[in-house]
Symmetry: C2
Subunit: 379 residues, 2 copies
């Protein structure tokens, strides 16, 4: 195998593929990165069994030559050193060559690195997904769906299914839901497809989505999503991101969502966020970083944080409107801040149904995104 | 005590003073920050016994009013919460008020924080330095002296005196020296004073200088430096930085510096630095990150790094000139990179006196800065 490649293109691909490589992989060869050169270009592969990423660099695209002098072949390189070497080579091009003893030479300018490679034949074959169940989403929309729900997955392995995001379709609606059983984040979008898609409901590990979100650029280019029983594939022009799915039944979450409201507050999202942030400064000594919200007359909301040893903070925020019963409720400042950041609108609507019932946060005129938080009993 | 102050000025002072405050201070009240309001302004104080910092915010300066409504008094606040509170207050001004029960109220906009304060009378008095031994240095020059020597102090407590920088004067020359016994960094400057200063030789803890360097701005404004037997004071217009000195005799370092040279290399500093950096990528498996340097014909230097398990790297760098004996020498890549970064000149001169003797790195036409490195025996 031999090729001469543009350093910057190689670096970007290496960084993407590294997201799937763990130094603690169960199969030793998976601590490495596979390089495969063909006349068409160079493909890099990384995998930790849960996530597999392939990144392809074309030899030439749109008239720009990225790779020259290709002699096809493949090799596996130790991933611990390869990225730093690529980052620090002295010239804009790098020549990579492997010989029959699996010795790899990396040349750039007058620097010459020799690395011990491994046989690419020993690298596990990635499963090839064959499925009719595929659909396209604009990349930036997919990233938004991930950002608005992924933070709410459980980080505890007590109920492994909750560490994933539940993705389902109903008629032309695609829904992402995540919950750690203390809060829930949901986002729906209308799919603009001619044919109706019958996507099976799947649960994607939160970690996979978080890595995918880091790799994807903020473009409107489509991501093709394909699903089988136990795998999901995200494919862009030069990227192939495969994740295992979580086994088991995702809990029925729709019945958690209250369909009545006793107190409804319309409020500036940023003002509320900053006020909760300030209150949480003196609520951190509490195990759960709990703050208190009180409705008052004159469209005033009082936010309160308290650590008896340290002190307390009280702040009034003027709401756009407060309707319904008076309320005094306590909740995690972190959950509230996460939810407000996920909605990312100027104004939000908060619907309470009493101090001990879950409450809803949504944009004012839009039910496609919904954040639910369970209050904390403090009285 | 009561005053209304500009948030940004308060924030800057708080951040400076925090550099001296440790949450693990031996005396509990030193985990707090002292606030003192007088008609002239507000003084903040932090101390961990080793370092004490005072920052003064004038009520008014150059016609700009920073503090209003001052009622003199003092209080000690828990430093764990105060900086975050100041950073996150909603308005550009903050009102701070303490009552006779040591309750402190911090108001900004509609936010109101209550903190439990402590009696400022219980805060230890900072020693007042009375000394004739003081001189001025431009702030940016002092920062440069620290950066060019401070990195070479020892991080081990085996010989505590080596964790400090040795500062001494001889006639009109001021010298900073640091060594961890594997390398040495020295910087001399001519003092431009009318009267000769007879500064006692002192050893300043490396940590104190590193904190001082973070606080000082890169200006030409003078820093006044005063020394007594066991303390050193750095004073700028509004800052008072006091550090204890290290006890004991600093070793005589001048005899470590070779006064002959068998091989002299002139070389581009940046090219050498980057080449050593690359060689160190594959030298990290060695305990000491050791790379090898070989002189070759035709003004070529070969830099080599090797980890038998992983691979090796070889690079040739063209020197401006190589004079004297052929040489093959091994040294710590980190020490070489630290030294080259400290010198920060386009070209450097390296003077070797054999593979087992310390070697010198200096700017080409300037003996005010000197870096010495002990080689590593690898053969």
């Amino acid at each position: 195998m031999k090729f001469t490649i543009q350093r910057d293109q190689l670096m970007e691909s290496v960084q993407n593929v590294m997201k799937a490589i763990s130094s603690r992989a169960a199969i030793p060869i998976l601590t490495g990165m596979k390089l495969e050169a063909t006349e068409e270009g160079v493909k890099l592969t990384g995998s930790d069994s849960d996530i597999s990423i392939e990144s392809f660099i074309p030899a030439e695209e749109d008239g720009i030559v990225y790779i020259e002098n290709i002699e096809p072949g493949s090799i596996v390189l130790q991933a611990k050193y390869f990225p730093d070497i690529v980052r620090k080579v002295p010239q804009k091009t790098v020549e990579i060559e492997s010989d029959h003893t699996k010795n790899v030479t990396i040349r750039s300018g007058s620097a010459e690195f020799h690395l011990n490679g491994q046989d690419a034949e020993e690298y596990p074959e990635l499963p090839q997904l064959r499925t009719e169940n595929s659909f396209d989403l604009p990349t930036d929309l997919l990233k938004r769906l991930i950002k608005q729900t992924g933070f709410a997955v459980s980080t505890s392995e007590t109920r492994p299914i909750l560490t994933g995001v539940h993705v389902s379709t109903e008629e032309e609606t695609l829904q992402f839901v995540a919950t750690d059983s203390h809060r829930l984040a949901s986002r729906k979008i209308k799919l603009e497809t001619e044919e109706s898609i019958a996507l099976p409901s799947v649960v994607i590990p939160g970690k996979s989505l978080s890595e995918l979100n880091k790799i994807l650029d903020d473009t409107e280019d489509p991501v093709q999503i394909s699903v089988t029983d136990n795998q999901i594939l995200f494919r862009t022009k030069h990227l192939y991101f495969l994740s295992r799915l979580l086994d088991g039944n995702y809990p029925e979450t729709s019945r958690l969502i209250p369909n009545e409201s006793k107190t409804t507050v319309l409020i500036d999202s940023r003002e509320l966020l900053q006020s909760v942030d300030r209150a949480s400064l003196l609520a951190k000594e509490n195990r759960n970083n709990v703050v208190r919200l009180l409705t008052k007359g004159n469209n005033q909301i009082e936010i309160h944080g308290n650590s008896p040893e340290v002190g307390n903070v009280t702040e009034e925020v003027t709401a756009e409107s407060i309707e319904g019963e008076e309320l005094k409720i306590s909740f995690s400042a972190k959950y509230m801040m996460d939810a407000l950041r996920a909605i990312d609108e100027t104004q939000v609507k908060i619907e309470f149904t009493g101090a001990m019932r879950p409450f809803l946060i949504t944009p004012v005129e839009d039910d496609s995104i919904l954040q639910l938080i369970l209050p904390v009993r403090t009285y």
